[in-house]
Assembly symmetry: C2
Homo-oligomer: 231 residues x 2
């Protein structure tokens, strides 16, 4: 089984109220792509947030900082203008997900209020329009402790398990693996970013060949505080 990842071209600048699923469908057509069963449509939250109107004025650094603090449920660390914060969803990331890149001047984009629900809404519309059974992953670009560079991760999921639980499966030596929960939707998010590119304005991709169906949520990925050694 191999996997293919296709960029979805032709998605224009998104404005509040736009029907993102319809726009993705037009992008698929412009990219000569037809959705088939088990395709995973990966879309960066930035266009989801814009379509949902989650964009606010932030004319200067101070306003931007206030927005980030407002979106934070808890602040783990501060350094200069950067905060590492927990969002209302429970994700921990820089500036509570408030971001000014790829956003019209003087504005900042926030995370969708319920990014799992956003993924679900897009999925329902894509399925109705195409007849295919697909999954949708909404992504953001997160930094990590200890490792330089950003990677895309899932902040919204519909139609897939978030985590593949291999605990109790035998390994190749027929021994039971103790701890093997794979964050498969984060791996899908990272894979899709390989064709999206930050500067290229390609905010969506199709990942084909993932042989999974499930009803996970991105919030399944949040490590409970009592299990977390780095808060």
């Amino acid at each position: 089984m191999s996997i293919e990842i296709f960029p979805i071209h032709g998605i224009p600048e998104i404005a509040p109220g736009d029907d993102l699923a319809a726009i993705i469908l037009r992008g698929l057509a412009a990219s000569d792509l037809s959705l088939i069963d088990r395709d995973v449509v990966v879309v960066t939250h930035k266009v989801v947030s814009k379509a949902e109107g989650r964009i606010e004025a932030a004319v200067d650094d101070a306003e931007y900082r206030r927005l980030a603090e407002r979106e934070a449920r808890a602040i783990l660390r501060r350094r200069g203008d950067l905060i590492i914060a927990q969002t209302e969803h429970g994700f921990i990331c820089a500036n509570a997900g408030v971001d000014r890149s790829n956003v019209p001047d003087g504005h900042a984009v926030l995370l969708p209020i319920d990014s799992d629900r956003s993924a679900h809404g897009i999925r329902v519309k894509l399925e109705r329009a195409t007849g295919a059974t697909v999954a949708v992953v909404v992504t953001d670009t997160f930094g990590r402790p200890w490792r330089r560079g950003l990677v895309d991760v899932a902040i919204g999921v519909s139609g897939l398990p978030a985590i593949l639980d291999l605990r109790g499966s035998p390994d190749a030596h027929n021994r039971t693996m103790d701890v093997t929960e794979i964050a498969v939707v984060d791996e899908i998010a990272a894979a899709a970013d390989l064709v999206m590119g930050k500067a290229d304005a390609i905010p969506a991709a199709v990942v084909r060949g993932i042989d999974l169906i499930g009803d996970g949520r991105a919030t399944d990925l949040i490590r409970p505080p009592e299990e977390d050694m780095f808060r």
Copy 2:
């Protein structure tokens, strides 16, 4: 530009002294794959470590724990039998990378001593045998603070940049992006894991369509302690 990811089948259990590049080439042939320019061959460190003899007896939990502590340069956290430790390379991960899954009973596998050099050695042999200019990424499976589930990351690289530095590039609004260093080899590692699977004994994959050439090292990914807020 799309990306394809192919599993490399037919790689047997690896023993110390095995010529891993030769075994990968046989696996490629068995999988009906021929390497072409810019292919990225991704291989889990477990087979690299076994080929390099980085496997030791660990008959019980106490011996396993001693091995992990011996491989650690520094210990960040302890919880029960688990340590979160920095390895000699500088990577921070569970049990300093010492692992007992997919390893013969009574043994544990350590990380390669210099996993960037391991990647380079495999790459040189693959290039000599095929005439193609390829890259090699050696991976391990790491947990993350704050997010449940494991993802594959790069611990060895040859022939690629580790990080794609987009700082200073214009975004889609023609504004300069402040902080956009993408950990592209970690995204490649995560993508390849989608076809590898922990239980399936598929320890290598080809990622095709990555349009990058560079001379990065996985140690480029290590965040300097003075920039790190979570040690």
